[in-house]
Each structure stands twice: as C-alpha cells, then as structure tokens.
Assembly symmetry: C2
C-alpha cells in the first residue's frame, strides 16, 4: 500500500487588487484586496493537495509566515498516519506547546492552521477520488467523529451525542444526495450591494440578478443611517415584498447602537442583521437577538468567529439565529464538523459565509454535507454567493438558478490556476508590478 | 517645541532556552523557551522607546513579522501627534481596513500591537522624565480617558462612568503614592512550583521563599490528579494554614472536569483556580465559578484573554473573581486602562499575570496605577512574581519583602541590555548557535 508521505509544503502570498473597484467594501473593511495564503503539499508519489485561507490584503505575509512555522509539523507525516488519528493531528497543530501561546486557536495561527488542513483534506479527498463533500457523506460516522477535537465543548456536545446525530441522519441520505445532484443547494447573493457601489450600479446588478433567478439578497449597511435607509428602500423596491433581504453591518456598532439602528431599518423586513457588533461579543449578540426578536429580525454571525468554543457559547446563549461557518476562519473541516453538529443540537440553521477568494469553492462542500448527513433540512438555510474571482480556480463553483451545484472533481475545489497564482503573487507578480 | 518624530522601528526575535531546565513548564506549555518580540523605536532627536511582547519560543518570528507590518503605521508619526489622539492612533493600529481581518484584536496581531504600543508608552514616559506609573498617576483623568477605545464596551462602561471613577479616586491619591513608595505593592510567587520541578526542588524553593518573606504561593496543576494532590498537600504543609495558596491549570480541562478536579483539591484551601478551561469560554468559567463558590474557591483568568470585549463579558457573566490582566496580551496600556476601569465598576479585584520575560517589569506600572488611581484598595489584590531573567533588563524589578517597589527610572522598564539581546537573538545569537 502507498504511504503518501508528505515531503514538501509550499505557501505563497496571492493578492487581487479588488480595492480598485470597491468590490468587497463594507463598513469596516473599506478597501479590501482579496487575497489568500495559498498552500500546496506534495507526497513522495507526486500527488498534490491544495489549501488556502482567505485574507484581505496587508497581513497576508504574516499568515504565510505562520504557515511556514506549522510546516515542520506536517512535512514527514504520511496521509495514512494523519487520517488514522486526525483528532490527534489537529491537536498537534493547534496545541503545540510553544506556538499555542500566540493563539490559542485564534487569529493568524488559526487561519494558517485552516490553510494547511484544507490542503490535507484536499489531498485525502483526491486520494479517494472523490469531491470532499462525497468523502464526508460516505464516511463512517465513527470515522467522522474521530476527526473532531471535542476539547472544551463536551459541556455542550459529547462524542456520543455527535455520533447519535450522524447515525440518525443516515436515514434518507441517498435521497438527499440525489436531490442535491439534481437541484443543488440554495444560495443568496451579496454581489449586488457592496457599500462602495453607486445606487445606479446597485439597481443594475439587482435587475440582472433577478433575471438570473436570484431570490435572496444581502446589503451592506452600517456606515451611515440615511444611506442605509435609502439603499434598503431601493433594494426592497427592486426585489419586491416576497424575496428575501438580509443586512450586514460588519461589526460596526456597539450593542445599544445596533439595536437602535436596525430598528430603523425594520420596515424593509430584513431576515437577519449580520455582524451587528464585535465578533467576540457573545453576550452583546444575545442582547441584540432578544431586542430584535419582536421585530422578526434574527442575528447572524460567524465569519470572524474564531473557534468551536466561541460558537458553542453563541449557541448556549441564544446569541445567534443563523450560524455562519467559514471554511478558513475555523480549523478546517475538522472544526467545522464540530460546529455543524453543535448547531444541529441547538436547532439553529447553518448559512455559511462565502465570497472572497475560494470561500465559495470550499464551503459548498461543507454545507452539502450538513444537509445530507446532519440537518436533513433546507428550512431557513442558504449559502452565501459572491460572483468574483472564480475564474482563477481549476474547478470553479457552478451556480444554476441560484443554487450551488455539487462539485464533481475530486478534492476540495481550491486548486488555483498556476498562471493566476504567479501573476498575482505579492509583491513580485505582474499585476502588482504594474500597479507600483 | 520638539516634535519627536518617530523615524525608525526595529524588531528582534529574542529567545531564552528556559525549556532546558523546565522553568515555566505547565500542563499545556510543557517546554516553553521564554521569548520576546523586542521593539525599539527612535525619534529624529535620537530618543528611544523600548517595547516588547512575551512569547514562549516557536512562533515568535510570526509576531516579529506582524510588528514589521504595523511599523508603517508608526514610522513618520510624531509622539505629540500620537498622544494628542491616542484613541485614534490605537484604532488606526487595531482597525486597519485590511489587517484587522487576521485578528481582529486577537492573537498574533494583538500581541504585535502590544509590543509596538508598549514602546510608544515607554517613549512618552521617558520624554516626560517619569516612570510610566507616575505618568499615568499624574495625568489628568480626561487625558487618560482619551487614550481608551470604548468601542464595543459602552454597554458595560461609558466614557462618563470611567471619568467618574478616575475623578473620585483623586481623593487620597498622594497618600497612596507615598504608601507605595514606602511599602511597595504586594506580590505572590510562582517560582516554587512549576510542573516540571521535582518534589525536592519544590520543598527547597518553598523554604527559601518563606525565609525571604513570601506569604502567597502558586502551584501548577492539571496534568495528573494524583500528582496534584501530592504537590498541593506538600506545599500546604510547607507554607502552613495561614499563608495563601493558589492553583493554576493553564486551560487543561473541560468544564465538568474542572469542577470535579478542583473539588478534589479543595481541602488544600486554594484561594483561586486559575485558567481552569479554554480562555475563550466565558460561559464555562461562569459555570465553574458558580460550582466552586460554595467551596470558597474563586476563578482567576486573563493571561490569554485577548481584548477588552472578552474581559467585559467575563465581568458581566460573573465568570471570574480575579482579573488577571497581561501587559502584552492586551493592546498595551490603552486597553489595560479600559479593563482596570471595568473591573472596578464590577467590583472585581485585579491580580495581574506576570513572569515570562519582562512581564513583571511592565505590569508593576499598571497595578501601581490601579491602586493609586482606580481601586484605592489592596483587599484580595496581589501581583504575580516569577524570579527569572530579570538580569537582562536595564531597570529590573525591585522586590522587597515580597512587595514590588515602585520603579524610579523614566519609562516602562522594558529596555533590555543590548548584550543580552544580541546573545539571545534567534537563531543567530551565541546562545542558540551553541545549542545547535
């Protein structure tokens, strides 16, 4: 049997100058250059695994530095060795006796962990000849559980409860696989209403999106209340009363301010307010949730929720009504599995964060798994979609009628075109040289 | 008037091979090499400011990389420009539209922010010819408040409430200054009972410490219950029933496990259990606090509490009974001021984390300020002391009869001896070359 020993890890700083056109602009990130720390691992048999974590420009070099520091824990291990005790390997990376000090399990070092482990999962899926979602869906529940580090979450979800959830969801699994292959997973669009866009551009993008079958739209808010009222009114007018509107403040407010501001936007009937305040403020989100519940507005958060311990508390405190997992903020598939299972136990729907570079490509696998093998429900569930930068991927997402169609190529879908990587490498790539 | 423009920032990776003798070993950090990212800033008039953040070995290079990324936001600014709107400058560093993504305000980027701002505060104190604690104590309350970023904490502490606390504490201030200059601030020792120490070494160190006047002792626990019982029993026997014992698990347990384990150690009458579980688990700490209260054991945490939003919630949830601020984990003096004021409002004593490299030198300034200008109380208050590596500092801490004596030299006390820095630079310093 082949050992698939990992003999090499490379990481590159790849940036796209998206700030030039205000793509991705929000109330706290006004000039993002969508970027990735891009990881390639290689086995002694010449097989490759691709992983990445998403960033927004400056600071990507710090994540690259952190990936290099983790590299010593990966190179020399075989894929078999890793996946035969994936929980142990996860803890090796996240609880290194020296490096955990600079986290632990948060910020730069956790983003780097995600990039590395995403590459390991990609390698595993490729070695099985399956797209990642199918690898997960086909995996024995006990094996799945053995990938999760339950440290610090057993007061909310035990290993036995997790196993029980997965075993129960085996019923009807094949039916849901078939349904997904046929219909895809419902998506919503954030591409129409970035904060830096003009009203005219917003109108045009809305019209186009409606024509393409989109029914769920997210608007960025939080910089200026008058502006927000105008923009929300405009988009609600464009999409009509029956389509879904969500609003996203990207952490702009304090707790009291969030409640006042969102109350002023309630007449536009948003389904949720996303990231109303600090991503660390569990009790603040709980207070906001409580205040907005009578208005029929839920709270959504998670794209900057840095680990399972935080999600555990958001769920315990009823601080969110929509769980927005992120494929690169959490510690890869391993930690996302823990969060999907906790969300199911607490009966809160998961609506992933996506967009950026590669987040759509990655997270579609997780949400397909969630539907097929955990939640078995599409109620109040949808996955974010942003129509940028997909052309740089070897297996870009396929959207049909506002649904994510399940990926078919083996792996985790985040292999980038080598030409794109080279052209956008920072600072030496052609694109950046031209801008200097 | 001199502008004191900052024209240069350098940062170095300085490591001490403490793991060779198990100094600093605990249940989660079994082999720490005490280290710092060491920052020097220089003005156009040749004045220097020194700052650092503490790390435990591998990963220090990542923090160094982050300091370099922040450097562009500092170099070119004058000291006057910074301190005339310190809140604005704080937010410039912590909320950069691109770099905040890899935090925000947590992990590597926050540790780097601390190192940089510690150097700015050192420069400020030197330029006023005062030790930092005296700069703070003499500062007008309104000016102090203008250094704090209240974003995300106004639901717990408003600017007006903070000002009110400082104004009230003006009464009796000079008396407390005199008292501190005479008696010093009470300290406890962690040097006797690191996890890797033998019973014989522990006994000897305890005897020495008692002879030197120490009355408060901390023991590391959490790796093995039988071991803990033996060690706690031994140390309680050594120090007698009237001295104070604290225990520290360094995040080893899940919530339920923490309660069971500490209950088994209750007969040794620890004042607190420190870091029983994940530093992110506010609700977990609240559950542990509630369970241990009937046993008379409090919960202490904070050395890995990454920002004011987390401390706010720990206080709101009654999740700790002792606030352990850290001079390098939080965003320097600015963020520590916010936490001291919140702790006072919630009537919870502050007992800082120290040790490592330079943490004692730094945090003594903050706790002196807390006593003189905020809490005006010594009840249940003490500052950690660890007797390692002080010889590498130009103005090392002075301990007399188990009390921190107020520093007299201008600045923030973290200038290191240049020879120590060069010898311990990683990996090219002599100490490390010899070990290779």
């Amino acid at each position: 049997k082949m050992t698939k020993k990992i003999i090499k890890l490379t990481v590159r700083d790849v940036r796209f100058p998206t700030s030039l056109e205000q793509h991705g602009s929000d109330a706290m990130h006004t000039d993002p250059d969508y970027s990735v720390a891009y990881v390639v691992i290689e086995t002694d048999q010449g097989m490759q695994g691709y992983g990445l974590t998403f960033t927004v420009g400056r600071g990507t070099e710090i994540v690259v530095c952190a990936v290099e520091a983790l590299s010593a824990l990966v190179v020399g291990k075989s894929l078999e060795e890793i996946v035969s005790d994936f929980r142990g390997f996860y803890r090796l990376l996240t609880s290194d006796g020296q490096m955990r000090w600079i986290g632990p399990e948060k910020g730069v070092i956790q983003l780097a962990t995600a990039a590395v482990l995403n590459a390991v999962w990609d390698l595993w899926a490729r070695s099985e000849g399956k797209p990642l979602w199918k690898l997960l869906v086909d995996m024995d529940p006990r094996k799945l559980i053995s990938c999760i580090d339950f440290r610090y979450i057993t007061d909310a979800l035990t290993e036995e409860e997790a196993l029980d959830i997965l075993v129960k969801a085996q019923t009807g699994k094949q039916q849901r696989v078939d349904q997904m292959l046929k219909e895809g997973y419902p998506a919503y669009t954030t591409s129409c209403a970035w904060l830096g866009y003009s009203d005219q551009l917003l109108k045009q993008l809305c019209t186009d999106a409606l024509n393409d079958g989109w029914t769920k739209f997210k608007v960025k808010v939080g910089a200026d209340l008058k502006d927000d009222i105008r923009r929300c009114s405009l988009i609600r007018q464009m999409i009509g009363p029956h389509n879904t509107l969500m609003i996203d403040a990207n952490q702009r407010w304090d707790v009291g301010e969030a409640i006042t501001w969102v109350t002023r936007l309630a007449e536009y009937k948003p389904l949720w307010i996303e990231e109303p305040t600090s991503p660390d403020d569990i009790l603040g989100h709980a207070a906001i949730s409580k205040a907005l519940a009578p208005l029929g507005i839920g709270v959504a958060t998670g794209e900057q929720c840095h680990n399972r311990v935080m999600f555990k508390q958001f769920l315990q405190a009823s601080a969110l009504q929509f769980v927005q997992i992120d494929s690169c903020r959490l510690g890869s598939v391993n930690e996302n599995l823990a969060v999907l299972l906790m969300a199911h136990k607490f009966k809160v729907p998961v609506c992933p964060h996506a967009g950026g570079v590669g987040l759509c490509e990655l997270v579609q696998h997780l949400i397909l798994f969630d539907y097929i093998s955990v939640s078995a429900s599409l109620d109040n569930r949808m996955c974010e979609f942003v129509d940028h930068l997909h052309q740089h991927f070897r297996s870009p997402v396929v959207i049909q009628n506002a649904h994510y169609m399940p990926p078919k190529d083996p792996g985790y879908s985040c292999e980038m075109l080598e030409s794109s990587v080279q052209t956008h490498q920072y600072p030496q790539g052609q694109v950046w040289k031209k801008l200097q």
